[in-house]
Symmetry: none
Subunit: 447 residues, 2 copies
């Protein structure tokens, strides 16, 4: 991909992301804000040209700020705004600006109010969080104690944001995003537009093959694929005229057509939200019975606000006793076929649907590992069951499918949950028999 | 935390990591090599002071190399060694060295042999992978086409490694690790050892206050805190003699003493695993009934391999009907007090323990948001119930506690789950009444 280089050639403004923390440079905690900020800035039409992570070191932070200010129109800094001695982002920004820190009255008041609402006195050490460099502004933080800081360093707009994503992200949307629009407007308006299309159930190579013509080098719009767990996403980027003349939208539609019915949504839409949309339209309720996923499917579903309109709940049947007592799986069936089997997956799905009085029942039972695998049922083998009580009168239509997943325990569990949701989505669309990635020929197991 | 700064003061050698790739700075693919390299270098006694990620841009890469060479004894570069036009790490290193590229006969022969073994001719574009700066050395790559490159830039040892972890990691162990030993030996041998202690239920300020003497600037061993969700971790680092004379272990024990009973483990031990250890020792089984957490508590518990020894499963009672039908919560109670109430939290916990035939029943019911809040029950208000059927004979001992959490839906759910697990752990240790962070005076709700 050449867009960043061509950006430099066109002298378009770029952004830099600076993450602060010993635990990050030491590899004790993995840095998560940089990728999110890059993607959000890209959506706003501003390209990130550099990420940097430095230690809680006042000199290292101020040098990085000076170096980045020489080439970036925007610098977003995360971390180092806490109350302890090793939180030094405020001090380092003051050094880079060649000024002093002073206390911000409004920020102090916000801190005192926050602790009053929490019903306890503000610890003395938190008072330093109300400091900001002279000639800088504090940014309110409705979600935590650390206010943000905004300042102009040379030609560059600098924002200090808190490290915790739940505090950083809202502050980005409230304060940084509007500043980005000003920067891109100065550069002649939106130069860049991006969109993404998400699929589940295709391999990345199969998905890429289906849209190969769109992926040619140097194309504009330019399309690339990325795979994350069970979801393959097409990332579409249009520059210059193509960003505004509808070419982007046409590319989105081409990808959606090529990936149907696996394409479940675009941009910010998640798989559980997309599945929920279909269930809501069908006025269908879903229940789950989870063994190896241990509640992860329900947790994924309920990331969607308002999911109670189409999700009732269900059972975590981690032990065989609970498979029997909660979902009515016969002991003889468990003894004969084992908990990881087509029969038990079907019984769990039907038990969940019937006992929760829902149209759909989804069950997961498998060998997540690292232990418990065998020659016949290796680690990563998962049975997913789906019961569809088309109408409360008709007999339930219950199927189970066998999947062989690769990866560690958490990878197996996360991928299983997403494959299960895609199956429910397709079934609610009347396409429950479409083949899905990682499915294993069942005779391989029956043998 | 100051060790990295004190490293600089002591003129101890440090390392820098440079990752190359448009897809990384654009946030389309998350950078994974940096954290791994930092942790490996730390094990070898060399501290990483900076990570950088830059685009596939020859000038950006060479400038980064020059800047880093001015302060790091070792620079590990990953990516940009492929055969395509946008793979520019070799060219950029030559620029930084002020020299030209030349073809390496041995590297070319390895490439030709590799393709012969693969039974197809070498594509013309791959020949550039045999190029290296004059005065640099190529490093054999047994796992792929891209040879590595080693060179000395100023006072700094530079290694260009391939981006794919399965090619990068073996090359690091074969070639970079021995070079690190030479660097640390020059500086007087192993300089560094680290450990961490984890707690849950204390605020970061309160936790820091309890170990303030250990956190003094410039101390050795040196202790700093980081907060992630509901878990506060003390990161302890010992340098020089303190790394080997037992001082690190004494510091670990001091933190554990100061944080008791909130300290649940050290180093790699997670909260669910620590809770499970206690349940296993007590021969106690746990069941859950989850409303707003939707299965997230069970999912967190079952991240622990072998958790079936102390976790049976339970209920996802997202709808009121399932609270009634699955856990026996009386409709009148739901009508009178609402689903988010002390009474319902207690009934859910007791229903889970009894119907799953476990000693402990843990329930979660709250307002996760973003909608559904009220003046009396704002977003973030969560009731956690805990039933302890001390002996199947004795009447169950069931309590519920009210917490007020800050943050978005996912933050509220994640923190609630961890607070719940810590309460179970403490209860199994006979300390179920210890105060926990974010607890809200209940009369505030009753009023």
């Amino acid at each position: 991909m050449l867009p960043i280089r061509s950006y430099a050639l066109r002298r378009m403004p770029t952004a830099a992301v600076l993450s602060i923390g010993d635990e990050l440079v030491l590899g004790q905690v993995s840095e998560r804000n940089g990728g999110w900020l890059s993607a959000e800035l890209l959506k706003l039409g501003l390209m990130v040209s550099e990420h940097r992570t430095v230690a809680d070191d006042r000199l290292a932070i101020s040098s990085a700020l000076r170096e980045l200010a020489s080439r970036a129109a925007l610098i977003v800094v995360t971390g180092g705004l806490g109350p302890t001695d090793d939180d030094l982002s405020r001090e380092a920004l003051a050094d880079a600006l060649g000024t002093e820190l002073e206390e911000d009255g409004r920020a102090l008041q916000n801190l005192l109010d926050l602790y009053r609402r929490r019903g306890r006195p503000m610890p003395a050490m938190n008072r330093k969080q109300a400091l900001r460099p002279k000639c800088a502004k504090c940014i309110d933080n409705p979600h935590g104690t650390a206010p943000g800081v905004a300042a102009r360093l040379g030609e560059s707009e600098v924002f200090l944001l808190p490290g915790p994503p739940n505090e950083m992200r809202p502050m980005f949307h409230d304060v940084v995003a509007p500043a980005v629009l000003v920067i891109t407007a100065r550069a002649g308006g939106l130069q860049l537009a991006t969109a993404s299309v998400h699929s589940c159930g295709l391999s990345e190579s199969a998905a890429a093959e289906l849209i190969r013509p769109l992926m040619e080098r140097g194309g504009n719009p330019l399309v690339g694929t990325t795979a994350s767990g069970a979801v393959v996403t097409a990332r579409i980027r249009a520059m210059g005229a193509a960003a505004t003349d509808g070419a982007l939208e046409r590319a989105v539609q081409e990808v959606q057509r090529a990936w149907a019915p696996y394409a479940f949504g675009r941009d910010g839409l998640t798989l559980p939200a997309a599945m929920g949309e279909v269930l809501r339209r069908e006025r269908a309720m879903l229940a789950v019975a989870e063994s190896c996923s241990g509640g992860g499917v329900g947790a994924l579903i309920t990331t969607v606000p308002g999911s109670s309109r189409w999700f009732a709940g269900g059972f975590i049947t981690y032990s065989n006793e609970l498979k029997r007592d909660l979902c009515g799986v016969p002991s003889a069936m468990l003894a004969e076929h084992g908990a990881v089997s087509e029969e038990v997956a079907r019984a769990l799905a039907q038990g969940a649907a019937e006992r929760c009085n829902c149209r759909f029942g989804l069950s997961i039972t498998g060998v997540a590992g690292p232990d418990g695998g065998s020659a016949e049922k290796p680690v990563g083998l998962v049975w997913i069951g789906l019961c569809d009580r088309v109408s409360s009168g008709a007999p339930p239509n219950t199927k189970a499918r066998c999947f062989q997943l690769l990866g560690d325990r958490e990878t197996v569990r996360e991928r299983t949950a997403r494959v299960g949701l895609q199956w429910v989505r397709l079934a609610a669309l009347g396409m429950g028999d479409v083949p899905l990635l990682w499915e294993r020929p069942t005779q391989g197991v029956r043998a």
